[in-house]
Amino acid sequence: MKIKKCLYVNRRAPYGTSYALEAIDMVLIGSVFDQDISLLFIDDGLFQLKKGQDTADVEIKNHSPAYRAFEMYDVEKIYVSKEAMAARGLKRADLLVDVEQLSDNRIKELMDEHDVIFSF
């Protein structure tokens, strides 16, 4: 099978909609297809990666431990928007996984470099 550069763009808060959970499912399934996978977190999507998520009161499963498992699936390229981090007062130490911070200008180039963009 042809290998394409696939970028999964995560734009939404971890709870409130099902998109963050769906994105995790798709990344894990996608990893089986030996595609070149990168993840990008922008806007409120950054909160998906925040440490210390506790969903007990809203009776929804806390899916954030899955991000730590991505490494085992060879999903290692995780990018975040530097501007979105600053706007939300987030630092790399606040996040569950190691990330590379990119300027929004660089993110435009990153999108251009990919064959497929899956947006969640």
């Binding site: 696939c6 499912d25 089986v32 297809f33």
Partner: protein, 130 residues
């Protein structure tokens, strides 16, 4: 050009479902190839044959089925999204012990791998929904 179409919203609330259908029909009319239409998230609700719109409204589900019959379109409903929302075919009704099934003609239920395989083979993925 080879397209894969992704539909993320259900019928009637959002124009998304209409736009996806109109784009698909137009692409086919221009001689393009639509490898697959993948219904994801609330988009799986486009695959229930029990929708009953009033006579003066468009039949969103029925026109997908008709387009599939005419062009041999592959209409795929995401399995995980479908089961959560109660979209079942006959075999899954039996397997899950439910008392009804509702998958519309021309649709089939399958996994996200179908979307990934589709985009690997296609020139463009066109996504409808926010």
């Amino acid at each position: 050009m080879k397209f894969v179409i992704q539909v993320n919203e259900g019928p009637y609330q959002h124009q998304t479902a209409d736009s996806a259908y109109q784009f698909t029909r137009a692409a086919l009319a221009r001689g393009h190839e639509v490898l697959r239409v993948f219904f994801y998230h609330d988009g799986v609700n486009n695959g229930t044959r029990l929708t009953s719109p009033p006579q003066d409204d468009r039949d969103i589900v029925g026109r997908w089925s008709a387009l599939a019959a005419e062009h041999g379109l592959d209409l795929v409903i995401c399995v995980a999204a479908a089961y959560r929302r109660g979209i079942l075919d006959e075999s899954e009704m039996k397997r899950l012990g439910k008392d009804a099934h509702n998958l519309a003609p021309g649709f089939r239920i399958s996994g996200l791998g179908q979307l990934i395989e589709g985009v690997v083979l296609a020139d463009r993925l066109v996504v409808f929904g926010d």
